[in-house]
Symmetry: C2
Subunit: 337 residues, 2 copies
């Protein structure tokens, strides 16, 4: 009996790893000391930090992988996971340094893995971080058919004195938001249920509300906020950042709110992408539930003092920024009005 | 419609996260600045490094999760993944700093997740690294029934001048090995096929060759070599380390061999755990295939110059260490004799 007979093809996996290695190298800076194939990825910490604090985040794109699989399109979820994790380290004020991916499947289809890693590499280059390692695991018996899972871990760095943590938030501070591109990587189980099970739509169906096909809407890439937020950090004193992911603004914004503050959010002060209105109406989902599951167009929350408000309003970067509310005295909650 | 109806229970996930948080805290040193619940885990880099190089590794325990699931025992695979990743950063001479886990399932059973994290935390304490973050993803539609996947990412640090990379290996150097406890986390697809499909054994069957039940053998914990290797690094000039994982010694040792050197391995110079002989005989697996799939008792390869050989032989740590071969002139291959 050979290992191949059990569904694991080490030879094919080795071949894929060479292509992955070439793609990964396209993301490397002089700080990367290793070659893929070493046991660990080696990254020389940049010298400019007095008290470097490493900020790390691990995540997956959730069941968005199932949509990617249905569509046979894999590069976009590759970009999603990198951008998602980059945003998570960014909210503490850290810049992404390096990323490691985890791809698991019942059978590693070379073209799928390569396409995923093309997406990972593209996003790593855009976020100026190095794809320094990864694991492609062939696990027959756990993943069915062409199913696969995709996760990743980002490590960034911030000077200790410059950590952003929300501790300085005070009543009167102003809440801004950078827009999401759509669902990002959250709420896909519910979205899939409404779109495919209830409405019986297919990926190729054009939906007027989306102005695109179902596939195009559902595979929109999770925005990276690294460039716009870095721009803002150079211009204004940012007191708090929150990446709006699973659990929506209701769950994620309180993670940085002091216990004595509420976040007052003014509905209508930012554009809600049509995909959310569509899911709410067609799926018969209550508005409260919508805000507890989806980002509703709020991709990255940025909080500054009232004095800095004008500086933010004058900011003219690659993304719109919306003034959506204020910090008030309260009990650590998000309140809509 | 509610998010729960699509199979995702955010409320239950939040409750689990609190317990996870408490377990994770048991692993924290003063360098951990974050509380779980922040977007990223925060780790203050220790001050004692002139040119700190971060060494990172991401991996999974492969289809060993399926055995854990059959057995309804989850703490051991939690320890497996931490030890596995700790060994991977260790081979570059790095000490583990912090770990992040990824747990994915169709439905997050609180007792399963908590048991997994108990294992992760125990191993993190033993390896003196902090469990600093993690993702528990509920993905109905991707994972069937009680199936789950477990992966993790370890970040360690090494002084640049002290990186171990095998570049200094020369003909005449001596090859040692620290023993594996058994299969560790590799070759489970083949082992499961032989044990469950061919031999029709069950987890509770006692196997004389193992001196234990199938369950006890298959869930033996992947050894951590952090303590014995750290001990050795203090006493001898270690020129090369290789963690023997998927692909066996045949694939993993060449990762550190210079192109002009072969590794000559003397069969019979170390004890092969009975599980391997059993699988080879009962499964009708060729010896060459065995060495290309399994660790065959070789857990961690340690290479020193011939002059240092006696210092290693006199080493009397918590693990046996076996002299298994030498480096010779060659072409970057492993040769058995």
């Amino acid at each position: 009996m050979k290992y191949k007979d059990s569904g694991v093809n080490i030879e094919r996996a080795s071949r894929i790893k060479k292509t992955i290695g070439r793609l990964a190298e396209s993301t490397w800076s002089k700080n990367v000391l290793s070659e893929i194939g070493n046991f660990g990825g080696l990254f020389l910490l940049p010298k400019e930090y007095d008290e470097p604090v490493l900020v790390s985040s691990i995540d997956s794109v959730g069941t968005k992988v199932l949509v990617a699989n249905m569509a046979g399109r894999f590069d976009t979820v590759g970009q999603d996971i990198v951008n998602h994790c980059a945003n998570d380290v960014l909210v503490q004020g850290a810049l992404p340094l390096f990323f490691l991916d985890y791809i698991a499947a019942g059978s590693l289809e070379p073209e799928v893995v390569v396409s995923l890693v093309e997406g990972l590499s593209k996003a790593c280059r855009e976020n100026q971080c190095a794809l320094i390692g990864g694991e492609t695991a062939e696990m027959p018996g756990l993943y069915q058919g062409t199913d696969f899972d995709l996760a990743g871990c980002m490590v960034g760095v911030v000077e200790k004195k410059q950590i952003i943590d929300g501790f300085r938030l005070r009543p009167g501070d102003t809440i801004f938001s950078l827009p999401s591109t759509g669902l990002h990587t959250n709420g896909y189980s519910l979205a899939r249920k409404i779109i495919f099970n209830e409405l019986k739509l297919t990926l190729d169906d054009h939906v007027d509300e989306f102005g695109s096909t179902v596939e195009e809407e559902l595979l929109k890439i999770h925005a990276s906020y690294v460039r716009p937020v870095t721009d803002l950090l150079h211009r204004v004193d940012v007191k708090g950042l929150a990446h709006i992911t699973g659990g929506g603004v209701v769950d994620n914004l309180p993670r940085i709110l002091p216990a004595s503050c509420d976040a007052m959010i003014h509905k209508g002060s930012w554009p809600v992408p049509p995909v959310f209105t569509f899911l709410q109406e067609k799926g018969g989902v209550g508005e409260k539930e919508m805000y507890a599951v989806f980002n509703m167009g709020l991709g990255m929350i940025v909080i500054v003092s009232a004095e800095e408000e004008n500086a933010v309003m004058k900011y003219n970067g690659e993304m719109e920024i919306y003034r959506i509310g204020e910090i008030r005295k309260g009990r650590g909650k998000v309140i809509f009005e």
